[in-house]
């Protein structure tokens, strides 16, 4: 029963180009970074700097607001502007624009107590860890951008299990794998900090068997059995059923764990992350350690520029990432990958739609147990009421259904149209009530 409902697909991995390349810093650091002060659907934070200010790397630019972590400068330099800028998630958001002076002068000392490198996690109180996460502007780094401190506080005392997600089942993406393979101590140390923050004695780290170098690196730091951190090897599968939300289980990414370690032991705020730049349209695919706020164009240049004509530029994995049209948009802490896809990469997905065969493949793979073909039908024929009955809101927009559809129907697109329509309708209803009241 469960295996039927968990669905999922096994897309071709396409990770050969970057899988074994250790991450490296950018050879040509960005001349300017753009740091958004508002997350998706959050109010904009009040900027702490004005144009003309000199800032150091790691200096706080804005305090946290609900749903959005604090923002720190990722380079040192001069604030050029505080103005709305195009974001990769779509739309514009108030952002601090910093002209880099190229020196990366760090702040003298972080705003939180810096812990000695040899101090054990047990010397930190759980609440203190959440505070550090808040001060350092750490986020979930899973694409949602939720503040890590908030997640920690929500889970404290409620979670009785801790799962750390190191899987990346979307094709092309190798940033987590390289993080685990190249900085295993930071990842494991961060996991222990998360355990301490939640007062849990044990954690499970899930990763895929195909990330073999990461597995080997982590293993060398862990006892074969009986350790506090258990490695769980999974078969590559998208989406990974193990990483679905589960009551009573806290779920964090390896990126967050390593960032927490950096914050606690190195006093670093969230200013950098590893991003996979891949796709056949770039000359030298790479895993890059990128200052947050770097414009997309600088990443492309760092990866050797265009080799072929890019037909689509995707920020994030190919299954859920967003297509970009503005190369000045900055990458964020949630950006796992930047994919420059050529026509050959994209080929089957840009085929024209043909009629639905009712083959049932979309139903088969849907991890939410929905019937995407009917959702598609209702959206395209305007039967909005039926969508609610079909529980369209349960869809996570994972893209598995559209991946397997032999008719190449844009199922996820239809579902988004439907969801938007429904939320619009619901919004309107609420507004009507307010007017009446």
């Amino acid at each position: 029963m469960f295996s039927i409902f968990s669905g999922g697909i096994r897309p071709a991995q396409r990770k050969k180009a970057t899988g074994q390349l250790p991450f490296r810093p950018m050879e040509q650091p960005p001349a300017q970074v753009v740091l958004p002060l508002a997350g998706a659907g959050t109010a904009s934070a009040v900027p702490l700097v004005v144009p003309g200010d000199r800032v150091r790397a790691g200096q706080k630019l804005a305090d946290a607001v609900p749903g959005q972590a604090a923002v720190h400068a990722s380079v040192s330099g001069t604030v050029a502007a505080v103005e709305p800028r195009q974001q990769i998630r779509g739309g514009a958001a108030l952002s601090a624009v910093i002209d880099s002076d190229g020196t990366n002068t760090p702040v003298a000392s972080p705003a939180w107590r810096r812990v000695d490198k040899d101090a054990s996690p047990a010397s930190l109180r759980p609440g203190e860890l959440a505070d550090i996460a808040a001060q350092a502007g750490l986020t979930a780094m899973d694409g949602t951008g939720r503040p890590l401190s908030q997640l920690l506080r929500d889970a404290m005392g409620k979670a009785d299990a801790l799962l750390i997600d190191g899987t990346e089942s979307e094709p092309y993406v190798t940033s987590r794998r390289r993080l685990m393979a190249d900085r295993p101590e930071a990842v494991l140390g961060g996991v222990r900090l998360l355990m301490q923050a939640l007062s849990l004695p044990r954690a499970t780290l899930a990763l895929e068997g195909s990330q073999y170098d990461a597995v080997a690196a982590l293993r060398s730091y862990l006892p074969l059995r009986g350790g506090d951190i258990e490695l769980r090897l999974l078969r590559s599968r998208y989406p990974q059923p193990l990483t679905f939300h589960q009551e009573g289980r806290a779920l964090f990414t390896v990126c967050s764990a390593a960032a927490l370690w950096d914050a606690v032991y190195r006093g670093q705020a969230l200013t950098h992350r590893i991003i996979t730049v891949a796709g056949s349209a770039v000359a030298r695919p790479a895993n890059l350690l990128v200052p947050i706020g770097t414009p997309v164009s600088d990443l492309i240049r760092e990866a050797g520029g265009w080799k072929e004509e890019p037909v689509r530029l995707v920020a994030g994995g190919p299954m859920t990432g967003k297509a970009q049209f503005d190369l000045t948009a900055p990458v964020t802490g949630e950006t796992r990958a930047l994919l420059a896809l050529s026509a050959a990469d994209l080929y089957p997905s840009i085929r024209p739609e043909s009629p639905c065969l009712r083959c049932g493949r979309c139903v088969e793979v849907c991890p939410a147990g929905l019937a995407p073909l009917f959702l598609h039908l209702y959206v395209r024929s305007g039967q909005w009421e039926a969508l609610e009955r079909e529980q369209i809101s349960a869809c996570t927009e994972c893209g598995a259904c559209a991946y397997v559809c032999p008719a190449h129907l844009r199922l996820v697109h239809s579902i988004r149209v439907g969801k938007r329509r429904l939320s619009g309708a619901a919004g309107r209803r609420e507004a009507d009530h307010e007017e009446e009241a």
């Binding site: 753009v34 265009w306 297509a323 065969l357």
Partner: protein, 419 residues
């Protein structure tokens, strides 16, 4: 100025990150093709923000088409285009074509309708080859070819006349044609074949909306229609009697006729398995049909659940209720290999369009097909009831889907309520 997609709601649109925002307002149910999610990013922009980044080096600025005075914002330039290419004022980093926008996922399977249908045709080939070369002679080839050509022709003609999108190329009509031929006696006259094709493609498939919308299996419906001419449909030539195959050629009793009468057929079990027996053009050889079915399973075109539940139900019921005092084992094996059961279970009941889409729906559907088959074979006046059993379950497929999805939703709600 690069080509720009037709505006959907009049004035200039400012590029959205994902196009659904526009569809929210401008979407018209009648014009599905208008909301094609892939669209070219317009490169000249009226509104703001103006994502028309300027090349970093000033030299070719003069060449850039001055479309409209886009508000110049201080922004990082896009990366430099290749030296030999002329940078252009577009968001595609100067490479010429604009970047495309679309909802994720940006990768999909390579399978298409055509490749799936091609796989079905390939799976039917062993049975057809042996029919044509051994059992019934060249006429089997001719009948299949005429039927496939007839179906494709009718489909093409219909699409042409009604100005629908041409779907003859997706091979689904060819599959219908071959399957229809497989259910006919090898000596069937060509006019009857074409009549069946017409009914299958035009009446059953296209008049209900074409591929994916018909609620009856076209091949089986075409065959059922041809039962208006019983003389044509029951003149089964004996196997290996090639010469003079026509309706008035000697007809042989099919194994089904014997089973219907409650006795075991004269053909041995081995003969039934290999196909040296009388019957319709493509249904005679159990072995070759199984081979084709195996191919479809390996290629993941069909799933095992429908054939398995279908055949399993027939097997269980035959085992429990053998007719005419025969042993359960004999009766079950003959029942499974007799008539068109294997052809129907592997190729007809698994037709995508007319079977349910959910797992349990498919299981229920298969069980229903099996039960109805045994019922019709036992109590019907025609010896063979498989075709009608599948057609009846076709009618229920939609209902089964609704029911299984409703159950699934209830199950999910209960789980959520408990959590």
């Amino acid at each position: 100025m690069k080509k720009k997609r037709k505006n959907r709601s009049g004035g200039q649109q400012r590029p959205q990150h994902a196009p659904q925002a526009k569809q929210n307002e401008t979407f018209q149910p009648q014009a599905a093709e208008q909301i094609s999610p892939v669209e070219k990013q317009p490169s000249g922009l009226a509104g703001q923000p103006a994502p028309a980044p300027l090349p970093r080096d000033e030299a070719p600025r003069a060449e850039a088409p001055q479309v409209n005075p886009a508000p110049v914002q201080p922004q990082t330039a896009p990366l430099l285009p290749k030296a030999e290419k002329q940078p252009k004022l577009s968001s595609s980093a100067g490479l010429g074509t604009p970047l495309t926008l679309a909802s994720a996922p940006h990768l999909t399977t390579r399978d298409t309708t055509r490749t799936l249908m091609l796989d079905v045709l390939i799976a039917l080939m062993p049975a057809l080859l042996f029919s044509g070369c051994y059992f019934f002679g060249p006429r089997a080839f001719l009948v299949s070819l005429v039927s496939a050509a007839g179906c494709v022709g009718f489909e093409a003609l219909f699409c042409l006349l009604t100005r629908r999108r041409q779907t003859a190329g997706d091979l689904s009509a060819a599959v219908t044609g071959v399957l229809l031929a497989f259910t006919l006696p090898a000596g069937v006259p060509y006019w009857a074949v074409l009549l069946g094709d017409f009914f299958a493609i035009v009446v059953v498939k296209q008049l209900f909306g074409g591929l994916g919308k018909n609620f009856l299996n076209p091949a089986l419906a075409g065959r059922a229609f041809l039962f208006s001419f019983p003389a044509v449909m029951t003149a089964f030539p004996a196997v290996r009697s090639w010469e003079g195959l026509s309706i008035d050629a000697q007809s042989a009793a099919t194994p089904m006729a014997a089973l219907h009468a409650g006795s075991l057929p004269s053909a041995s079990l081995l003969e039934m398995f290999t196909g040296v027996r009388s019957g319709a053009l493509g249904e005679v050889s159990a072995a070759l049909l199984l081979l084709g079915g195996l191919y479809l399973l390996v290629r993941r075109v069909i799933k095992l659940r429908i054939p398995l539940s279908f055949l399993g139900t027939v097997a269980v019921l035959s085992w429990c209720f053998p007719q005419g005092g025969n042993s359960s084992l004999d009766w079950t094996l003959y029942s499974l290999m007799g008539g068109g059961l294997l052809l129907a279970a592997l190729f007809m009941a698994t037709d995508f369009t007319t079977s349910p889409v959910t797992f349990w729906g498919q299981v229920v559907y298969g069980v229903g097909c099996g039960a109805l088959t045994v019922f019709l074979r036992t109590f019907g006046s025609y010896p063979e009831g498989v075709g009608f059993a599948v057609l009846m379950m076709n009618l229920l497929a939609w209902l089964i889907d609704r029911a299984s999805l409703a159950l699934r939703r209830a199950w999910r709600q209960r789980k959520e309520a408990r959590a």
